[in-house]
């Protein structure tokens, strides 16, 4: 069994998870990454996606996060999410609303840079939607 480390998932409203875990899969801005104990210190922004947590007890929990960033040190990992919910509690209407907003943002973008950013965000959201909602 792999060594456990401290993982915390924090959203502005509350502390969602704070426990010993075996591994965490984070949807990093530059690709997914699995964090285990003694990971080299990394700081990364995260894109909307699913965080998979494997607890020390062997359970697997999945959370949906909408952007944020992760602070990884050898002793633990802190994930500051803009908003986070357990996959089971996801509100479809909320997700649909976010996608709608992202679409509007992309349409309203004034210059190329913001448009690329908005479109990127939109595609991340739609990927996320297809990933968590059974078709």
């Amino acid at each position: 069994m792999a060594e456990a480390f401290k993982f915390e998932l924090v959203s502005p409203e509350r502390l969602l998870v704070s426990e010993q875990v075996e591994s965490v899969v984070i949807p990093g801005a530059e690709g997914e990454m699995t964090v285990m104990a003694h990971h080299a210190p990394v700081m990364t922004t995260i894109k909307p996606g699913v965080v998979t947590v494997k607890t020390a007890a062997g359970n697997e929990e999945r959370y949906v996060v909408f952007g944020g960033f992760a602070d990884i040190v050898p002793a633990g990992c802190t994930l500051l999410a803009e908003s986070a919910v357990a996959v089971g509690d996801i509100d479809r209407a909320d997700l649909a609303r976010r996608i709608q907003e992202a679409r509007e943002d992309a349409a309203d973008a004034k210059d190329d840079q913001t448009r690329t950013k908005a479109e990127q965000f939109l595609s991340q959201l739609t990927t996320l939607e297809s990933a968590i909602l059974p078709a």
Binding site: E8, V10, S11, P12, E13, R14, L15, G28, A29, E30, A40, P41, V42, M43, T44, T45, G68, F69, D71, V73, P74, A75, T78, L80, E82, S83
Partner: protein, 294 residues
């Protein structure tokens, strides 16, 4: 001298008022607990955010990479004040305290020849500041419909502020809110959010602060993503503190009101009893003197 009937009515009405204030006090107490819990729950995020921010600023070393939101425009001509107050009154001096604090600040800025713009969050502050500085208020955020304060509310305010900043609308942004010290004491506070002054002292306290981090993407990019978020968090914290403070102030105000109503009822009852006794005595005297005359 009011008649017995008047007094009776008066007592009944004060009793009704007392019941209302008592109920409001209890509602405020319940809401206060919830607001306090919310403020407490939000604390880890803002603390971690502060730590990470300090960390990353250290990594960049305050070089030219730092985004404008952090370094500011280098001027301090135009000030934006975000004044957060409650949506409802009946909470003692809570709103006027913040408004007065903000007004002193505005006066000082104006006296120094600065330009001032105001964003009012909450109806009460708007009502008070409108009297003197109506032409300075550029925006008013209404949270009346909001039942439970969410991060989205704060985020919306922060986005507005940032947009205004990017358009060159102001140089320095300060947040006005009430810090929740205890149920009976709320301290009006200012906090400068743009340019964001990151406490470098905080960097030393973070564990692993001296470790060499890998950044993904570049530190500058993370930072430019982080700073707007940090502003949202600051606003969110201010709003939560305010909500707790409002409820605390309301609770003690209503407690006072209930007690005052009680005192009033006591006084009125004494007058009432005295007058009734006087009337009885008078009637008795009339009867007795009537009987004696026979």
């Amino acid at each position: 001298m009011p008649s017995l009937k008047d007094l009776r009515n008066r007592i009944a009405s004060v009793k009704a008022t007392q019941k209302i204030t008592k109920a409001m006090q209890m509602v405020a107490a319940a809401k206060l607990r919830r607001a306090q819990e919310a403020a407490e729950a939000a604390r880890p995020y803002s603390e971690r955010m502060g730590a990470v921010l300090a960390n990353i600023t250290q990594a960049i070393g305050g070089g030219g990479e730092a985004p404008a939101l952090m370094t500011g425009t280098g001027k301090d001509d135009v000030h934006l004040l975000v004044v957060c107050t409650a949506e409802r009154g009946l909470c003692g001096g809570f709103n006027s305290q913040i408004a007065r604090f903000a007004r002193d600040h505005i006066r000082k800025l104006l006296a120094n020849g600065k330009k001032v713009k105001i964003i009012c969050v909450g109806k009460k502050g708007f009502d008070i500041l409108r009297r003197d500085y109506a032409e300075l208020i550029i925006e008013r955020v209404d949270l009346r419909e909001v039942k439970t304060l969410g991060f989205v509310n704060a985020d919306a305010i922060a986005k507005k502020v940032i947009q205004l900043f990017n358009e060159g609308g102001f140089d320095i942004c300060t947040l006005f809110y009430s810090q929740f010290k205890s149920v009976i004491s709320q301290v009006p506070t200012t906090q400068q959010i743009i340019p964001a002054g990151v406490a470098s002292a905080a960097a030393e306290t973070t564990d692993g602060g001296n470790a060499v981090y890998e950044y993904e993407p570049e530190p500058g990019e993370i930072l430019s993503d982080l700073i707007p978020r940090n502003i949202s968090v600051q606003v969110f914290r201010a709003l939560l503190e305010n909500a707790a403070g409002e409820m605390g102030a309301k609770m003690s105000a209503m407690d006072n009101a209930t007690r005052n109503a009680g005192d009033m009822i006591n006084k009125l009852s004494i007058t009432y009893n005295r007058q009734r006794q006087a009337q009885i005595t008078k009637e008795l005297i009339e009867i007795i003197s009537g009987a004696e005359a026979l």
